[in-house]
């Protein structure tokens, strides 16, 4: 069932394979890279502009774009083989993918974070683990421009790339039963923001008053794959002020 399709950009072919009988996966290489991410974004945008019959929705991830479809509609009410129709549509789509605008055309989302204290109960622990002063942890965490590779795990939860490797720290051995929404944490070489109150094992270094998931909004997730973000340190007073404005 696996097929190799010509890539819209570059020489590496795109792998196409089924995920069950109502989804297919387009796989763009094996490793995390900004180039792969941009290709996935470009293909997703093209799919938005040119949906094929039976197309339902897609989920971008680090190296894949998973495309969900309705086999009944895709097969023209059972007249044709649904998988053949979908893979043929995607093969044609890949040939007409235009280049995305340059990355600096994408605005940077600022995420205000109150570090340490009650909002970041693991900041001291992380500081001891990395051998960096707490202020240095905050400086290194707020320095880079992060890339939102994908949204998953929970509504609005961003998988971010770009964290300084000196901040690498293991997960907590005993996950917390409830992590408040907005908590900013580190696990391994990743940093992220909890979008819903959930159990979780990340080391918590701060919290943002911004809501990452707003179900009442037409666009429920604050962040989207392809966006860039920066953490901005704020005081507890600013946190309280912003939180009142956010609600």
């Amino acid at each position: 069932m696996d097929q190799l399709l010509p890539s819209p950009f570059g020489p590496t072919p795109v792998q196409l394979y089924p995920l069950g009988d109502a989804a297919v996966v387009l796989q763009f290489g094996e490793g995390i890279s900004e180039a792969t991410h941009r290709t996935i974004q470009a293909v997703a945008a093209c799919l938005d502009a040119h949906p094929f019959p039976g197309f339902l929705e897609y989920v971008p991830a680090f190296t894949t774009l998973t495309v969900y479809y309705n086999p009944w509609v895709a097969s023209q009410a059972g007249q044709q083989d649904p998988y053949h129709c979908v893979s043929e549509s995607l093969r044609q789509l890949l040939q007409q993918v235009p280049e995305l605008p340059a990355p600096d055309a994408v605005p940077v989302v600022e995420i205000p974070v109150c570090y340490g204290g009650a909002f970041g109960p693991d900041l001291d622990l992380l500081s001891r683990y990395t051998g960096l002063a707490a202020e240095e942890v905050i400086r290194l965490h707020t320095e880079p421009e992060y890339l939102v590779y994908m949204i998953g795990f929970a509504p609005g939860f961003p998988y971010l790339g770009g964290m300084n490797e000196r901040l690498t720290a293991p997960r907590k051995t005993q996950p917390r039963p409830l992590v408040p929404a907005g908590s900013v944490g580190i696990a391994g070489r990743q940093t992220g923001i909890y979008s819903l109150p959930t159990p979780g094992g990340w080391q918590l270094i701060g919290r943002t008053p911004r809501r990452l998931f707003t179900p009442e909004a037409a666009s429920p997730s604050l962040l989207r794959a392809g966006q860039r973000l920066r953490f901005v340190p704020i005081s507890e007073a600013e946190y309280q002020h912003l939180q009142e404005h956010e609600l």
């Binding site: 394979y17 989804a23 989920v59 998973t66 795990f153 509504p155 179900p215 794959a225």
Partner: protein
């Protein structure tokens, strides 16, 4: 025009066809565990197939209808009674105001679906009335039903109203009447105790040892009590990978069988997360979701390998049969 919840049951939630189009924002689909049963229930009362109804889990609620209603109950046999008399499954039922629906022990399966002609008037959140418990959205205030709740049920559609009047004379006669007809039995399979679930190989099938691959197809798995609408956690045998290899997070879907490091497989269901980072050994075919959703905690199941062409054959077959039912009902009962 409503329905009072006298007792909520174990886990009774409002579900429609599911929340579509927001998976890329990490918003799960939710919707019914047994979509076939909800669709048939809706068609039987003259609704479109994905209108919101109640998903009833193992121990059913006690409901009192505060107005005349046209209902259909499908899925598991949870010993339903209406005003103390046994209620037949899988057919439209006209009930009078004041009737009480109650449930007893689960006989076969574990999830029943109650459709109301005219649906349920709860607000849609992100385009769907489905309850998403963890985020607290959809359904009735984002939660399962509680005693004392009043379900806003606007009452039968005009076509449903006509069938109601045919079945029940306005003033006298019995408290409720079910039709003598029922749909094609293939659409209302009685849940089986130890089903064989048909599965396609998952994208990471080849990462598992030959012994584990064979065990996956040949052994029987138990659905543990740590199972819920997110997924079934299966016990015995444990499945091993040939080598530890980091898997990048990627999208998953209803019926994905993923295997965490512990080796105990998880079958993802209606409330599954949108993405996962565990290797996917298999993917249940859509035509068997209904059978899968009816396996109770402690129940057992086996997996059988099929090809994508077979999966699509059964998908299209089920879809055709549903559409025949819808056309037949439109022709004879819901003109």
């Amino acid at each position: 025009m409503s329905c009072s919840v006298l007792r909520p049951g174990l886990l009774t939630t409002i579900q429609d066809g599911g929340r579509r189009g927001y998976r890329q924002a990490g918003v799960i689909v939710s919707g019914p565990m047994d979509a076939l049963a909800l669709r048939v229930a809706n068609l039987l009362v003259g609704n479109s197939p994905e209108v919101a109804g109640l998903e009833i889990t193992l121990l059913g609620p006690t409901l009192r209808f505060e107005a005349d209603h046209l209902l259909a109950l499908t899925g598991a046999d949870l010993s339903a009674t209406l005003d103390g008399e046994s209620l037949p499954l899988n057919r439209p039922v006209a009930v009078r105001r004041g009737s009480e629906l109650a449930f007893g022990p689960a006989r076969t399966g574990c999830r029943a679906y109650l459709a109301f002609s005219g649906g349920l008037a709860v607000p849609a959140v992100l385009g769907s009335q489905s309850t998403y418990l963890r985020a607290g959205i959809g359904g009735l205030e984002g939660r399962a039903l509680r005693a004392g709740d009043v379900l806003p049920a606007p009452g039968p559609t005009p076509a449903g109203q006509r069938l109601h009047q045919l079945l029940l004379r306005p003033q006298s006669g019995p408290r409720w009447v079910a039709t003598s007809w029922f749909p094609e039995p293939a659409l209302t399979p009685l849940p089986t105790a130890e089903p064989v679930i048909r599965v396609l190989r998952g994208p990471e099938y080849d990462l598992f040892t030959v012994v584990s691959q064979r065990a996956f197809w040949e052994e029987e798995f138990t659905v543990t009590p740590q199972s819920d609408r997110m997924g079934y956690r299966l016990a015995e045998p444990e499945l091993q990978r040939r080598a530890e290899q980091e898997i990048l997070s990627s999208a998953v879907t209803f019926g994905t069988v993923q295997v965490p490091a512990s080796g105990a497989p998880i079958v993802l269901l209606a409330d599954h997360q949108t993405t996962g980072g565990y290797p996917r050994i298999g993917q249940v075919i859509t035509a068997d979701f209904s059978r899968l959703a009816q396996v109770p905690p402690g129940g057992r199941l086996r997996f059988q390998e099929v090809s994508l062409a077979e999966a699509h054959y059964w998908y299209l077959h089920q879809e055709k049969t549903l559409q025949q039912l819808q056309r037949g009902l439109a022709l004879f009962h819901y003109r």
